[in-house]
Amino acid sequence: MSCQYLLLLLLSVGVSAVEVHRPRGVPLSKRQFYEEDKPFTCLDGSRTIPFDRVNDDYCDCQDGSDEPGTAACPNGSFHCTNAGFRPAFIPSSRINDGICDCCDTTDEYNSGASCQNTCRDLGRKERESLLKMAEIAKEGFQLKQQLIHEAKSGLEDKKLKLSEVQSSKKDLESKVEALRTVKETAEQPEKEAKERHMQAWEGKLGFESISPSTVCKDVSVAELMSHSELDPDSDSSFTEAEAQVLMGGVDKVDLAAFGAVWNNIKEKYLSEVRTYIPAPVETAQEETPVSDNDSDQYPEDDIPEEEEEEDEDDEDDDQDESDYKVRPLSFFITLGWTVLKFEISFDFGPSAEFGYLYSQCYELTTSEYIYRLCPFNRVSQKPKYGGSETNLGTWGKWAGPEDNIYSVMKYEHGTGCWQGPNRSTTVKLTCGKETVVTSTSEPSRCEYLMEFITPAVCQEPANLDSDLHEHEEL
């Protein structure tokens, strides 16, 4: 925004050097409609009046155009030239109301208000701040380029991993295929029953339709249930309800819903997944909020309590080792794949420039609270002096205006308020060199507002340097 204003401003500085005679309050662009000694036609064409009725402090035109310089028309507007600063229109009701609105004082020509011409001052200050902002924007934009670059390689990384995971899945497939062959040949008589069973547990793991074309499926509730290490309340019974909750109440989640679930099980998953996948997902452990002591509650040896297959008992004893290992591994690979797909699915901006915010957290301490913004994850508030944390909303969507959708983030469905809505937070992003939360407020009960600075929103600055110098010499 700064650039256009700056240009306008500079233009006006140049233009104002020449005073053009016209009725009070008329902008230059409309001067031609107000020709002295000729009857004036209201700009809406509704009627024509003698010129001496222009600015005679009586409203003759319905559109207010005959009184550009008085307060007589309820719908009129007054143009201040504001030499040295931006020109402006003000409602004509602000003419001679005793309050200085135009920095060139022209709106208070008959009210006795003692206004000072502050246009040059304002102009200078604005130029300074625009320069400063331009400076920031420039540096910020450079940083942004870097971010975009990093995001690109990060994405490629992830895609690479994804394909790795896919190929390990393919390995699994062939293993399963091999097992199947083994089973089929070794236990021909029981084939039909066996197959049914296979299908049953394959179904559970989401492998029921393994085929060369569809490699992967998303994680299901039943699948999650078989992993008691992810039990959220660690009461050792990982119920379907809990799994449903983890999965956001959707049996087979889509990626968006998975996001919410993933936030719940992420840490537990990460500690688990290391045992199975040599190269863990990129998510850096130390940067995620350490949620108390949950992770300690699951010592390694508790975990591999393998899934309780009810049918297991009435099955034959021909379970071989590889089969035993394959199931959990396949699950985690599937989950890992889902996670990756989930992370890739985020809208990190047109060039993924917001990607660097993912899995980071930023804090702001006020007189009463510590606010924490974890972009694409959640916003929370914790009393400074003890007390539990309150969820001010989890990642919802980009919510800026149509032409600038990436300027506002919306976090929704936080902790509910008594007789009020669920808490939610609007995060306004502005361009800066650093990444920092600058303020928080609660304009309406349980609706929070956060100001957040990041280079990722910086726009490419127009090349102003030369322009600036030229015009300042005027």
Binding site: Y58, G98, I99, S441, R445, C446
Partner: protein
Amino acid sequence: MASFTERMVPVLVLWLAVCLAETWAVDRGNFKTCDQSAFCKRQRALKPGESPYRALLETMELTNTRLTLQLINDNNKVRLLLELYRLQGNITRVKINELKPLKPRYEVPDVLIREPPTEPLSLLSQDENGVVLSLGSESQRVIISARPFRLDIMEGSDVLMSLNSRGLLTFEHLRMRKDTFSYKVTSTVASTTKEEEEKVEDGMWEETFKSHSDSKPNGPSAISLDFSLPGVEHVYGIPEHADTLRLKTTENGDPYRLYNLDVFQYELYNPMALYGAVPVMLAHNTQRTTGIFWLNAAETWVDISSNTAGKTVFGKMLDYVQGSSETPQTDVRWISESGIIDVFLMLGPTPKDVFSQYASLTGTQSFPPLASLGYHQCRWNYNDQEDVQSVDAGFDEHDIPYDFIWLDIEHTDGKRYFTWDPHKFATPKEMLQGLMDKKRKLVAIVDPHIKVDSNYKIHNEIRSKGFYIKNKDGGDYEGWCWPGSASYPDFFRADMRAWWASMFAYDQYEGSMENMYTWNDMNEPSVFNGPEVTMHKDTVHGAWEHRDVHNLYGFYVQMATAEGLIQRSGGIERPFVLTRAFFAGSQRYGAVWTGDNAAEWDHLKISIPMCLSLGLVGISFCGADVGGFFKSPSTELLVRWYQTGAYQPFFRAHAHLDTPRREPWLFGPENTALIREAVRQRYTLLPYWYQQFYHAHRTGEPIMRPLIQLFRKGRHVLKLSVPLMFFNSAAGRDLLVHPVTEEGARGVTAYLPGKDTVWFDIHTFQKHNGAQNLYIPVTMSSIPVFQRGGSIIPRKVRVRRSSTCMEHDPYTLYVALNLQRTAEGELYIDDGHTFNYEKKEFIHRRLSFAKNILSSVNLAPDAQFTTRSWIERVVILGASKPSKVTLQTADGQDSQLEFDFDASMSVLTLRKPGMNAGADWTVMLQ
């Protein structure tokens, strides 16, 4: 602001959530029914019959100014003293007290503006059955019958009012407490020995309600008296109740209750007590209007019965047509817990007379600063200075005028009134200066509960001066309110009030400035953990119990606060103080609002009868929270509420802490425009509102008036279309307002009264005949408002960002002609904010149109004031086209005026006559 403890007590929160979440209504169990209030139950058990009281005529003494007479109760031989006064202006005062009470009984001070001047009484006749006195020079007489005692006021052969005609006079005399043995005395014993004490009933010496115990050291002390009103079908008044304008009969339920209470989420259409109490009832029929002012500050219940109550409209019509019905009669009975009977019978005969009679007793509406008639933007809470600044800027950005922004309790440092939150409001003067630069103002809340905190200056001073209300054991009373543990200053002490007033001095109230005004909330007083959310009745105010004085607490809080605001300016500036609790006389100190309403259509509707009722008993400066306090209004409701509020005297939007923000521009450009238009209509009419307030201040007449009053001669209107009153409001005499208060309305039907009256739609100038039900199609932008033919209304059509910015702007006169082609109006101008009008610094002109001549003449030749305002336009509705228009000014100069005539609407507009608004001038149409 707020009413209750939703945040304070977790247990309660839970409980409320469980029990109230669904119905969202008052918890009736928190408040007493008559049956649960021992004295009410006792008194109400007494049925009409022969009174045990007898007038002892031999004790009668008649001086020039008063008559005294002893009454004796033949059951217990306790004697009472009756005093009867004839007061100037057709008022009769009847006082009854014990002849020799054990200790003095409370008589309400400070409510009457002076000892009312009397007129001579003269004895017309006397025999052993009674006496007849002449009431002044008219044909009015008062007849005192001796056995049983009763009192009738007659005019000619008509009985205007009878007292004790149903034998319900009771006076529980003060007595020594018997030891526990005599508790067992049964009713049989009592009745056999007539001269013995009456039976001792439960609740006479102690009473419990829920977990609260009332010790009642003085025992029973209730009083009661009945009034019969022959010829009266309908009675009005006794606010505050969330009920219809016309009071209902109470035989099948509880009486109307007057006991100032902080009622959480009050229910509509019932007689439960609310925040304020004005014990004044008006009786009205086509011939006469009278009033009863029951001057008692204790808990009071009012029973109403009527012999026509059961009849259908058809039945009444039949009676009317046949002329054969019995005379309608309304019977009223007042019951109070303590004090004396001190009742003023205001005998009219016109509504205007009753208003002026009541005003002569308790004073008129204070004349508020002009700016306070503008729009007020409030919310619990504007969070900090930045928030205030951005809301202020929002009004400019969206070009909506406003005059006051309000700060609720969160602006203080931990609910310590007279302080500021050090983080959120670190530099209040900077904030106030910012508002002042835009000619706007701020209101900050100051509640009467004081945080018990030894680091709080206000608390320490009140405690060290001994100014707190004491509990029955003599210690400072403590209750629970917003700050947690809180004590309550004893506003009944003049020295306490003087100290309180001094706290508003600029050097005492840090951060205050002359554009900051005050809001007194929670002054019933509200005590979260007290019985019925108020103070224990056995707390002590010097010689009196809280029981005796309760309904006066809020009155005194506002009085002391208003006095503080006057004093801080050296007596120059008019104060503005809003109060939630009130009593008779509160009109002298500022504005009231209808408390914590809800964002519901029915609450929008009830705001009309609630403010109408208050206006009838002197309190004109009334409004309801626009948008509704609890809950969140639909956009449609919010817009309709702005449209209604714009035509009510006090115009403030307010919202609960837990509701989403609702500043006028948050609902899309279309709705912003609708709200802007409603607020702008308010501002164009500010000169008229101001003049109406001046008139109310001078005469005591209400500003918002029900149709009954305007057109009392329209017998059919009164007889048959009574329900109209409930939904109509009229601002002043000349505008009839029928705001849309129905969801999804496509039209409203408004009754335009007056057979020979015409009404002009103020937006379209369409003329309508009176005495008809007019169907008006409406859209979301419609606010049906009509100007009465025969009136002249001044407006300022150049709406600016605040009323102060419009000070010097010119006037447009709207002249609406009646069938006789005449019209009259007034124009009042002064500086808008000081008491200098009392020193005759104002302009008051009569504007009249007759015989095609419009003229302005001085109504106050001895007054002096100059204005820069001029007359920019005259719009004559119902005019015919003149051939020329001539203006004649005081210096004898004639000039031709240009004009525009709209033949389709018969509207004549005179272009820019230009004379000064304070000058003499004449405009002739030829």
